[in-house]
């Protein structure tokens, strides 16, 4: 029973690993779709909770895979999901680094760099939308999202200060 679950984790995360251009933000939309809509491993709000945990914790946001694996199949689920999300992309990086140095003068180098950017941009915005949709957000959360994005783009406020203030404010609101 748990073996089929581990296999399913690999089948979901390993292909996503190869598509995570620009990092974990790019695959959040598809991860949410597969985990919530297709396989019904988690509800939308549960997925949004794990997304929040993965952003609040140190380390790459792709570690959300470890949390989903942990929810699905305990410690081994977390290990298997983490390996599935990192090993395929790591082999691509290793190969690309070798090619990159061999092809120092190739015009393809710049084309790869510039050509992957619009793909990453489209996927990053799709990921932001997917989380908002999964979380069944209220007006306060939408305002929070816009203010935080503005602060990070135009301001010089540290992300951990923003997180601490937000967590405190949302916690205190529960007592009103």
């Amino acid at each position: 029973m748990s073996e089929t679950r581990l296999l399913a984790l690999v089948l979901v995360f390993a292909p996503l690993s190869l598509l995570s251009f620009g990092g974990g933000q790019a695959i959040v939309a598809d991860m949410q779709h597969q985990v919530v809509d297709v396989r019904h491993w988690l509800t939308g709000p549960q997925f949004a909770d794990l997304f929040a945990l993965s952003r609040a914790a140190p380390g790459p946001s792709t570690l959300i895979a470890a949390l989903i694996g942990w929810q699905m199949a305990g410690f081994f689920g977390a290990v298997v999901a983490t390996l599935a999300i990192y090993i395929p992309s790591s082999f691509v990086v290793y190969g690309a680094v070798r090619w990159w140095h061999a092809a120092a003068a190739s015009p393809w180098r710049g084309a790869f760099e510039r050509g992957l950017t619009p793909v990453a941009v489209g996927l990053v915005f799709a990921g932001a939308y997917a989380v908002l949709q999964a979380a069944h957000v209220n007006a306060l959360q939408i305002v929070t999202t816009i203010v935080v994005a503005g602060l990070l783009i135009y301001g010089r406020v540290g992300i951990y200060l923003i997180m601490a203030v937000t967590a405190l404010a949302y916690g205190l609101l529960q007592f009103l």
Binding site: F21, A52, A57, P58, G59, Y86, P107, W108, G115
Partner: protein
């Protein structure tokens, strides 16, 4: 290529070596550096911490080489800190070095996030935990948007903009499967930059 220019900071023994050859770094020391950065760096600060350790303190790479590594780590699939550690590790000690660096980098956050996952399992049903996580999810989406806007500034020509918008609408709004969309649009985007981008280049 790895250049160790005369201005390159680092141990004096390296400045006396004129050959552009990476220094010999023991695997455990390599893993230890990435382990320490993995423990201490939060959020987007990983690159800054690695710069300090690798370029300024140890002189394992020069600045230009580090920036190349950073760019590659960002455009390739995978998490930036992990990709950066594979790049640096494999430059210094080959494939096994890449694996050691990546393991050092991902180990500490993996343990921390499991501890958080355990707490979530125990207390995730409480209303206050759910409210706080709701706020943090909103912050997380704000972070994602800010990264998206920073990247989007680099996309200025009509067809690349159309590619980005197409991916957002199909994958994000319409829930089309992502893999075929990315497989179709990525070669188009790269080919365009390779063959059509030259005319528009300044």
């Amino acid at each position: 290529m790895l250049h160790l220019g005369p201005t390159s900071p680092g141990p004096s023994s390296m400045n006396s070596d004129p050959l552009a050859k990476p220094p010999h770094v023991p695997l455990l020391e390599l893993m230890g550096v990435f382990f320490r950065v993995g423990v201490t760096s939060f959020g987007g600060s990983t690159a800054a911490w690695l710069y300090r350790e690798l370029v300024e303190r140890r002189g394992w790479m020069d600045e230009e080489h580090f920036l190349t590594a950073l760019t590659l780590a960002q455009v390739l699939p995978g998490a930036n800190p992990v990709n950066l550690s594979i790049y640096v590790g494999s430059q210094l000690r080959g494939g096994i070095g890449g694996a050691a660096a990546a393991l050092g980098m991902i180990g500490p956050p993996f343990c921390i996030i499991l501890a958080l996952g355990f707490l979530y399992r125990e207390f995730g049903s409480s209303a206050i935990v759910h409210a706080v996580l709701g706020g943090l999810a909103a912050v997380g989406v704000g972070m994602t948007l800010s990264i998206g806007f920073k990247l989007a500034k680099k996309v200025r020509k009509p067809v690349p903009i159309l590619i980005a918008v197409t991916l957002f609408v199909t994958v994000g709004l319409l829930h089309w499967p992502m893999i075929p969309m990315v497989l179709a649009l990525t070669p188009l985007s790269i080919g365009l930059e390779r063959f059509a981008g030259r005319d528009a280049a300044p």
